[in-house]
Every structure is written in structure tokens, then in C-alpha cells.
Subunit: 202 residues, 2 copies
């Protein structure tokens, strides 16, 4: 996480903050409407009603803006906003989360936007670090809270770290989504959670 609060849901208070939010919303809207190569800084500036120079003062390039836009969207969305539910049944709670992720990835525009994000992260190490910090770290924090509760009640092996446990559940979905090795549906999400919980059992 960074120290200027970019990973928290923005509360537009000043002119600069309003311009920032407008740019992020414009980037998301355009990424849903257009093929990614057409989502240029120019197009985003026009849609947001701000100057291109304003965008470049805050973001080095489109990739950096895109990461912020996805983090902004996650912070507002249900999955990224609150805690992972804790009904006392870790498997059921994580199944609900992973099913929601599967549903999101089935939306073509969101799928395309996240693939574009992966490309930006792969071609530019700095963007990759930004994706880790702004998109994945907040998710890991949410999972870590739920894992802490499961550890406290003796439902999972206390020796497995949060990132490792997170990867047990998220990595198979990420791999299957990116490489299209098979159906990415609720049944798969449930099976991943079942096997992950089994791997973590004390």
C-alpha cells in the first residue's frame, strides 16, 4: 500500500481529487467500450473533461493510470470493499468470494481490461510492482483477515503464511483464466476452494 491513500475509496474533496476520480472513471468506461489500443491518454482526457497534461502530471503513462483505475474500481466493488464474510465455514465463505471472481471474469469487458493490465505489468516492471501493491495487496489483506479468524478457531494450519494461503485459492483461477486450460465456472471455484481448504487443514 502507499502512503497517499490511493488504495482507499477516494472521497473527492478538492478540485484535484475530482479530476483524479473523473480520469479513473473515464478510463474504466472507455476500457469497457473500446479495444484497449484505443483507450489512449488522449481519449481518457477527453472523456474526463481534463487536459492531457493533467493526466501526465499524475501518471507516467496509460498503464499506470489503468492500474489505479482497476484499484479504484475494486475499492468500490463488493469483493474489494468490505471483509470476506465470516460465517464460521471457511470453505463456504471462500467459495462465495471465488464464485464472484469467476462471475466478474465472465464479463467480456472486464476480462479484456484485466488482460490489458497483465500485459502492462509484464512489459513494465514498475507497473508490475504497482499492480502487486494496488490491486493484489488489498486482496491479500482481505484474505489474511479471514485466515486469521480461521487460524484462531483451529480451522487451518497455522504454519502457512498469508500470501501462500492466498495463492492456494487465487493462483489456480488466475492460471486457468489466463491460459484457458478449462472451464472457469462455479464448479471449478468450489473445487479449488475444497482442495485449498484440504491443503490447509491442521
Amino acid at each position: 500500500m502507499d502512503d497517499d491513500g490511493r488504495d482507499r475509496p477516494p472521497v473527492p474533496t478538492g478540485r484535484s481529487e475530482r479530476a483524479r476520480t473523473a480520469a479513473l472513471e473515464a478510463a474504466l468506461a472507455l476500457a469497457v467500450e473500446l479495444p484497449y489500443p484505443q483507450v489512449t491518454m488522449e481519449a481518457i482526457a477527453a472523456r474526463a473533461g481534463v487536459g492531457k497534461a493533467t493526466l501526465y502530471r499524475r501518471w507516467r503513462h496509460r498503464g499506470a493510470l489503468l492500474v489505479d483505475a482497476v484499484a479504484h474500481r475494486n475499492a468500490r466493488a463488493a469483493v474489494g470493499d468490505g471483509r470476506i464474510p465470516d460465517t464460521g465455514d471457511l470453505q463456504a465463505d471462500l467459495s462465495a468470494v471465488l464464485r464472484a471472481v469467476v462471475d466478474e471474469l465472465a464479463v467480456p469487458a472486464w476480462d479484456a481490461l484485466l488482460r490489458a493490465l497483465c500485459v502492462e505489468a509484464l512489459v513494465d516492471t514498475a507497473v508490475g510492482a504497482q499492480v502487486l501493491e494496488e490491486v493484489f495487496a488489498p486482496q491479500i489483506t482481505l484474505f489474511a483477515r479471514r485466515f486469521a479468524a480461521a487460524r484462531a478457531t483451529g480451522h487451518i494450519d497455522g504454519s502457512v503464511g498469508d500470501v501462500e494461503a492466498f495463492e492456494l485459492f487465487v493462483a489456480p483461477l488466475f492460471h486457468r483464466w489466463q491460459l484457458r486450460t478449462g472451464a472457469l465456472d462455479h464448479a471449478y471455484a468450489d473445487a479449488v476452494v475444497r482442495r485449498g481448504c484440504r491443503a490447509l487443514s491442521p
Copy 2:
């Protein structure tokens, strides 16, 4: 797998086959030497000593050639060439394989080449399908053979499919490699195998 034998180690018998092998070797050599944007069809043709038209007759673009080059290299390398060892100890056998993968990914040139491959697969669905068929399917086949032996001796749950089982071991490495969520070392490979075997235990 396809039906013209592209996934088997090539045996250069004719002039066309020799030109193909030369192009694949040239692409690999250049990808190790140069930043990926400089690994152009022109540069590959020059290094291979063939005409650019010869390359384009076989490959639509650089991405398609690159996938073939990686598949060609895997077919020759130890990991991709033979079977996964079967000492009767699934955890030890898979740890050896995943440690070898970790060692490969630690080689900067190979890391860069595989990141370029991921980008090509993400931006072009046809290349993505080619990566799945030529790079991942042969690996899944090797794992499936080892899983079959483990099922026969009652070491793993018979209800989990080969692709799902493969993903338990490979997806966490892929995720950690691509997103740099933590150290990608032998200890991590061993931990992934330990948890994967646990998830698969009957």
C-alpha cells in the same frame, strides 16, 4: 497436440525442416541476447540464414514463431523431454520437477522470453491457444502419466482430473512468477508440492 508432429523433437530430414529448425534456434538465440522488441522477423531471418518470406510462409507473425521456438526448446530440454521420474515418492518426484522450473525461471533471458510469450498469448487469442496446445499440453501429459501411476498405487484421490491436479502444482508457481508476490525458490517449490500432495491425498 496437433497432427503434424510439431510437439515432438524435430528430426531435420529435408531442406524445409532444416530451415524450420534454424529459424527456431535463431529465435531462441536472439531472444536470449536482445530485448524482445528487437527480436523481429527480420532479425530472426538474418540469423537463421533464410529469407523473411520463408518465415512468413510458416508463421503468421513473430508471436506464432516464438511459441514454436519455446515448444521446440522444451521438447529438447530435460524437463520436457522425458517422463517425470517415478521413484514411488510423488512428493519427492514433483519437488524435483518444480525445483527445475524455478531454476529455469531464475535465468534472466529465459524469464524475459517467457514473459514475452505471455504477452503474445494475452494480446492474441490464437497465440494463446497455440501456447496451451504446444507448450502446456505436453507438460500436462507428462504430469498426467505420473498422476496415473500415483492413482494406481492409491497415493492420490482418483476423482481429481489431470488438468486440475496439474494446476495445483503449476498455478502457484506461475502466479508467483508473473506477479512477483514473493520469493520463487526451492523452498517455495517444495511447499507448493507438499500442499498440493496434501490436497490430493485420498
